[in-house]
């Protein structure tokens, strides 16, 4: 199968200039410029196939935004190869962007002072969307995204959640083959998040639109993406099924116990105490090494228990542990 996005050995190095101080320093800066090199993207390769919805995650400053900027043609890489939807993004800008969409959660593509309808109408002309396609897409999206009650409001007066829904609508109006979503749920409440996730899922399933989703919210990834790529320090650390990642690094469970009385140190072999407040204690244990029933038996032999529950560790915590403990590091020479 042909790749929708094909990336090989991609590098982006920024020069960060050091400045001389003072007036004379400003003059020296003109001729004598010292700089440090920062490798924002340090040799990444991957392929994304048509119709896939892939999550792209990593801690702050890992190189996510730089990658997205290169893939959307906003930034020219220092080295490497990218072919996205048949184009080299930064070389054939106008032809390439005609058939892609992009939403940057922190910014809007809409005109600040214009009512939403006017903004969308301008986009219709910019993308030269045929009238009937525009009407059917707009009719569908305004329903799924519930745009109706702010359709005539100027964009500057929209709430963050409304604006994001409007931006999503704008990004998909021209039926793009490939869409980049950079933090589309940032700062949104639970209801707005759910609506946006449903929309993304609908588009991906019904239209087979290829989507690359960047987010801090792991629950976005858990709900939407089968495949996930993790980047840190400019390198891809993991590229595969989310389920495999959790199988390898997750698998921790929580045993939450409420004791009948307070014990000074109710330790339990095979489990760590991760939270303690009076009679309430939370243990964490590895599912593979010990079973919940064995732990409960041990506990009830030594202590009087009032209530207890067992749950899987949230995915967020698993991912955070991967970041924090550098679980995926295969080489350490750059540290």
């Amino acid at each position: 199968m042909k790749s929708m996005i094909h990336v090989r050995d991609l590098h982006k190095t920024f020069r960060v200039y050091r400045n001389h101080k003072g007036y004379l320093g400003a003059l020296r800066n003109l001729f004598d410029r010292k700089y440090d090199l920062t490798h924002a993207v340090d040799g990444i390769s991957f392929d994304i196939h048509p119709g896939e919805l892939v999550g792209y995650i990593g801690p702050n400053g890992a190189g996510k935004s730089t990658t997205i900027k290169i893939l959307t043609g906003l930034l020219v890489p220092s080295a490497g190869e990218v072919i996205a939807n048949g184009h080299i993004p930064w070389k054939e800008r106008k032809r390439y962007v005609r058939d892609i969409g992009a939403v940057f959660g922190q910014r809007t593509t809409l005109w600040w002072d214009l009512p939403l309808t006017d903004s969308l109408d301008l986009l219709r002309h910019i993308y030269q969307i045929p009238e009937d396609l525009y009407q059917s897409n707009f009719g569908l999206f305004r329903e799924i995204l519930a745009l109706d009650h702010f359709i005539n409001t100027p964009v500057r007066a929209l709430s963050l959640g409304q604006r994001m829904r409007a931006d999503l609508c704008a990004a998909f109006l021209h039926n793009p083959s490939l869409v980049f979503l950079d933090e589309p749920t940032i700062g949104l409440d639970v209801i707005a998040k759910r609506r946006i996730r449903e929309f993304i899922q609908y588009i991906n399933q019904e239209r087979h639109t290829t989507i690359l989703l960047t987010t801090h919210d792991i629950s976005d990834i858990a709900r939407l993406c089968e495949r996930v790529m993790i980047i840190d320090h400019g390198r891809i650390l993991f590229n595969g099924k989310l389920a495999d990642l959790l199988e390898t690094f997750g698998g921790r469970r929580l045993l939450n116990v409420e004791f009948a009385e307070e014990y000074p140190s109710p330790t339990l072999d095979g489990a760590d105490i991760i939270y303690r407040n009076g009679v309430n204690i939370h243990y964490s244990f590895q599912r593979r090494s010990v079973s919940a029933s064995a732990l409960i038996r041990r506990l009830s032999e030594n202590y009087r228990i009032k209530d207890l529950s067992v749950e899987d560790q949230p995915i967020e915590d698993t991912i955070r542990e991967i970041y924090e403990n550098r679980l995926l590091y295969y080489d350490t020479d750059d540290e």
């Binding site: 960060v16 400053g61 992009a102």
Partner: protein, 269 residues
């Protein structure tokens, strides 16, 4: 090309529509800007009447050329205000320029269409009034060439001032770089860089901002139109250089602009 122009017209139309939503405040804006700018001329005219003329130029003659320039600047400020630093600076600073790059339309066209200030009609009207006032005070020896040259001169001035706006906007690509770079490396702990952005040294800026326009885009053309003696004894064709200089300036400005865009894409934002 036709698609591009229709798009531009559409972008202007929606802005005109939204700017006219409060007609009363629009009219007040129009009047106040015309009045404030008009006072500059009135003050100048009152001073001039005490001296009869300056350097052999009467009030009517000065008003004639002042009016043309004022009208041109007002028109330019209406059409090119997308390139105005006040408008374009924030586009770069807030990263909105990325959004322009993501749309399948010409970048220059999008910036041009990003702001259309219909309020500038006030300044245009003020210029026109001063021009007509000048006309009423002088006996002009009209010819067909002169009648054609007045609008051509105005268009030249519009393009020349517009070019200065484009050049000013282009420098924003560099002046903003260090702030944007800083954003990218918030977590990288990189040091702040200081970019020495004075691509054009001050003398050159002064020359192109004041000297060239006043000499080639108003003084020499006025010498021809008004039939004044020229103490500088320049050859006659110099009076007709205005369109040439305007086109040259626009060409340079657009080249610099494209260079700026390319630099923006390779240096990151």
């Amino acid at each position: 090309m036709i698609h591009a122009l229709r798009l531009l017209a559409r972008m202007y139309r929606v802005q005109i529509h939204s700017q006219l939503q409060y007609p009363l405040s629009f009219i007040m804006d129009l009047l106040s800007s015309a009045l404030i700018l008009g006072f500059f001329f009135v003050a100048f005219a009152l001073t001039l009447t005490r001296f009869e003329s300056i350097g052999g130029w009467t009030l009517g003659e000065v008003a004639f050329i002042w009016g043309i320039t004022e009208f041109s600047f007002g028109t330019m400020d209406m059409v090119f205000s997308g390139f105005d630093y006040d408008s374009f600076g924030p586009i770069i600073r807030k990263g909105q320029f990325d959004q322009l790059l993501l749309r399948p339309a010409n970048i220059t066209l999008q910036v041009l269409g990003s702001r259309f200030v219909i309020r500038r009609l006030g300044r245009m009207a003020e210029g026109l009034l001063i021009f007509l006032f000048g006309l009423s005070r002088i006996q002009l020896d009209w010819s067909l060439l002169k009648i054609l040259y007045v609008p051509l001169l105005s268009i030249s001035q519009i393009l020349f001032f517009g070019s200065l706006f484009i050049i000013g906007a282009t420098t924003t690509f560099w002046t903003m770089e260090r702030l944007e770079i800083l954003n990218i490396f918030t977590y990288g702990g990189a040091e702040v860089m200081s970019y020495p952005m004075h691509i054009f040294p001050r003398p050159i800026r002064m020359i192109f901002t004041y000297l060239v326009p006043s000499i080639f885009l108003s003084y020499f053309p006025a010498v021809y139109l008004l039939g004044k003696p020229d103490p500088l004894n320049a050859p006659a064709f110099v009076s007709f250089l205005a369109p040439v200089i305007a086109m040259l300036m626009l060409w340079l400005a657009l080249r610099f602009w494209r260079f700026g865009i390319r630099n923006y894409q390779s240096s990151g934002s």
